[in-house]
């Protein structure tokens, strides 16, 4: 068995997806000749040619807009939005059309929108956003975020077989995360969370970059005698409430972790669901460990903004101490 990085797992999944489906196309800014600013699409244009892997002009709204047209024509477009903060020009096309076109037309819209997201990379403005809640809030879309190389591969392979649009958020701070896994790895179904670590004292729920952070916190908590159960959501919409509820029934305490600002973040949905579906099992309120209710700060201050193992453990202590 060899180790694969999360980034390379995505590259391989794209390669295998393009091989399996001759109608799959990869396009966006710098994805062709350069191979992507993170090198995720490296080698694909050479392997599949310029008709199937191509660079576009600098225009996010149309990168998504042409994906709608190509999907209606029978292709499976895999457009890339270069950075999270640049998805906003395409917001109208995604929410007004990608999410709604099947309802209008009855025609399948197999589009997989790839977006690197999240911070902790010392970047300039607009390169560290976590916009996933806007899209999870939009019916008609499916929204996923892998946390590991194996799941990055498996979730993308599945997304590439979906007849519905998928927004595929890639945790860019974890592109170099390594895992021992043989590719091709198993396909990961949408709507199924993963128990990343079993435990009995507190359920810690994360997705994308925060799963690794939660696991680090769990390792430290173990030394202090607390067994955290870490859930990797993998899929935001559809959401696997069954796995979340089963865990909370066992642990009676829940902490949710995401980089996006806490106010109206995706954690609010999880907390509301737990409150509604497992109220009787709770010994303490659900706590959200998330970004501050501010725009993402300048890089020098990002560590103060982002949830880290310390803040997760503080929340764990708070929920355990609740009387």
């Amino acid at each position: 068995m060899s180790t694969v990085t999360l980034g390379k797992a995505i590259t391989q999944a794209l390669h295998d997806g393009l091989t399996e489906n001759p109608k799959a196309l990869v396009f966006g800014e710098d994805v062709g000749r350069l191979g992507g600013v993170f090198r995720i699409t490296d080698g694909l244009q050479k392997a599949f040619g310029e008709d199937r892997v191509f660079d576009t002009p600098l225009a996010e709204s149309s990168i998504i807009g042409i994906a709608v047209g190509l999907a209606l024509k029978g292709f499976h477009p895999i457009p890339e939005i270069q950075f999270d903060g640049f998805i906003y020009p395409a917001f109208n096309q995604i929410v007004s059309h990608v999410a709604k076109y099947h309802n209008r037309s009855g025609m399948p819209l197999p589009i997989t929108i790839r977006v690197p997201f999240g911070g902790n990379i010392g970047a300039v403005e607009h390169h560290s956003e976590s916009p996933e809640a806007y899209f999870a809030h939009t019916a008609g879309l499916k929204v996923v975020a892998p946390a590991t190389p194996a799941d990055a591969y498996g979730l993308l392979r599945t997304s590439l077989t979906e007849p519905d649009p998928v927004v595929f958020f890639e945790p860019k701070a974890r592109y170099y995360l390594r895992q021992e896994v043989e590719l091709p790895a198993a396909a990961v179904p949408l709507g199924k969370a993963r128990i990343a670590r079993e435990g009995s004292d507190v359920t810690v729920i994360g997705y994308g970059p925060t799963v690794e952070t939660a696991l680090q916190a769990a390792g430290r908590a173990e030394a202090e005698g607390h067994a955290l159960e870490v859930i990797d959501l993998r899929s935001l919409s559809p959401l696997d409430t069954d796995t979340i509820v089963a865990s909370v029934r066992k642990t009676h305490r829940a902490v949710v972790v995401h980089e996006a600002p806490v106010f109206c973040g995706f954690g609010a949905e999880i907390a509301a669901r737990i409150s509604h579906d497992a109220f009787d099992s709770l010994e303490a309120p659900v706590i959200r460990v998330a970004g501050l209710n501010t725009p993402y700060p300048p890089a020098r201050y990002e560590k103060l903004y982002l949830p880290d193992a310390d803040r997760i453990l503080d929340a764990v202590d708070e929920t355990l101490a609740y009387a």
């Binding site: 008709d51 149309s62 807009g65 042409i66 047209g69 477009p77 007004s96 309802n103 209008r104 499916k142």
Partner: protein, 362 residues
């Protein structure tokens, strides 16, 4: 405010057949190479869609439709453009191309479901090669470009006609789409129905430049035509479609016409324009002009005109009966079942809960 609808004062573009106010040099339609029965058919279609437009307006005033956006005065652009396409070509419309949809064979009564609040997609796009109405102004243009790029990749020989108004040419998506089409040599025809108004905003406030001249900036030809001359529109679209089909890329056609009615039935044009402004455009009514020309050429007579009128009347009555007779649909089906092609389990549960709640409280 001096924002009255004045013609934009500048030179006609190179290759254009009309000046900016839309009139042909001799206000006299050239019949070109179109056969007499073809010309009669264009006439009859314009009469039919105008009558349907009036009937839809009546239905709205009677409370049977929530909204209606008339295309009165724009019949030549709508009929001329669609009739110039092959049956295998595609149309990507905005929301005012009801006449075009009728020419494509879509049942008008069925289409009115859109305006009766019953459906967002009352027809099968693949069957008619006519994509759904698009209300987000200009945003259909990138869809059309992507679709055309797909046609090119498949070497299918299909051409895409995308239609929009003067207002849409201010939207970012329009400019992006035009640029993409030039870069990728997409086989499509951009057709602007320049009807001089975007609700209450006149052309002079929409742009300081020229719509047709923008094509050059994006790397392909543009031509301005008299949008109230069905033959001119037909020939321009036919030429542009064949250009695209030959692999020579996109074209822009600016069809100069006029929105004789209100933006929609929720609009009151008396607040921003005066009746006298419509006069020069009534004088160039597309249907009357063609009728006059064809009578002159001995191609149309009283009997033919009457026949067209009766046929149009029958269409309108059929349309009325069809929309009023549409069967009721199950709410859970309408609200939930079209959202995903492969609905997730959690979504299915929500749908079932909704259906159950309706049954519990009838």
């Amino acid at each position: 405010m001096a924002d009255v609808s004045q013609p934009v004062a500048h030179q006609p573009s190179d290759g254009g057949t009309v000046g900016p106010d839309g009139a042909t040099a001799a206000d006299d339609l050239q019949l070109g190479d179109l056969a007499p029965d073809r010309l009669c058919d264009l006439y009859a279609k314009m009469v039919r869609i105008r009558r349907a437009d009036q009937e839809a307006l009546n239905l709205q005033r009677q409370g049977e439709l929530g909204l209606w956006g008339q295309f009165l005065g724009q019949e030549a652009t709508q009929v001329g453009a669609v009739e110039a396409l092959r049956s295998t070509d595609w149309v990507v419309p905005s929301y005012r191309e009801f006449g075009m949809a009728m020419c494509r064979g879509i049942e008008p009564g069925l289409m009115l479901a859109y305006f009766r609040g019953l459906s967002f997609g009352p027809w099968e796009p693949q069957r008619y090669r006519f994509l759904p109405f698009n209300i987000v102004v200009g945003s259909q243009v990138p869809h059309a470009v992507g679709f055309a790029m797909g046609c090119r990749l498949e070497r299918s020989g299909e051409v895409v006609l995308t239609v929009f108004g003067d207002g849409a040419t201010s939207e970012g998506d329009w400019h992006e789409g035009m640029n993409f089409a030039g870069v990728f040599r997409a086989p499509l025809v951009f057709l602007c129905q320049n009807n001089h108004w975007a609700i209450s905003v006149p052309l002079s406030r929409q742009t300081a430049g020229s719509i047709v001249d923008r094509a050059a900036g994006y790397g392909f030809p543009g031509v301005r035509v008299d949008g109230n001359d069905v033959i001119a529109v037909y020939r321009a679209v036919r030429d542009a479609a064949e250009r695209a089909r030959r692999g020579e890329g996109p074209s822009l056609i600016e069809a100069v016409t006029y929105r004789m009615g209100a933006h929609t039935t929720s609009d009151d044009p008396t607040r921003y324009r005066v009746e006298s402004e419509l006069q020069p455009w009534s004088a160039r009514d597309p249907i009357h002009r063609l009728e006059g020309r064809l009578r002159q050429a001995g191609i149309l007579d009283d009997a033919a005109v009457e026949r067209a009128g009766r046929d149009a009347e029958a269409t309108a009555q059929r349309m009325r009966a069809a929309i009023l007779g549409l069967p009721a649909r199950d709410p859970a089906t309408v609200v939930f079942d079209g959202i995903y092609h492969n609905p997730p389990e959690a979504f299915r549960r929500e749908r079932d809960e909704f259906a159950a709640s309706l049954e519990a409280s009838p």
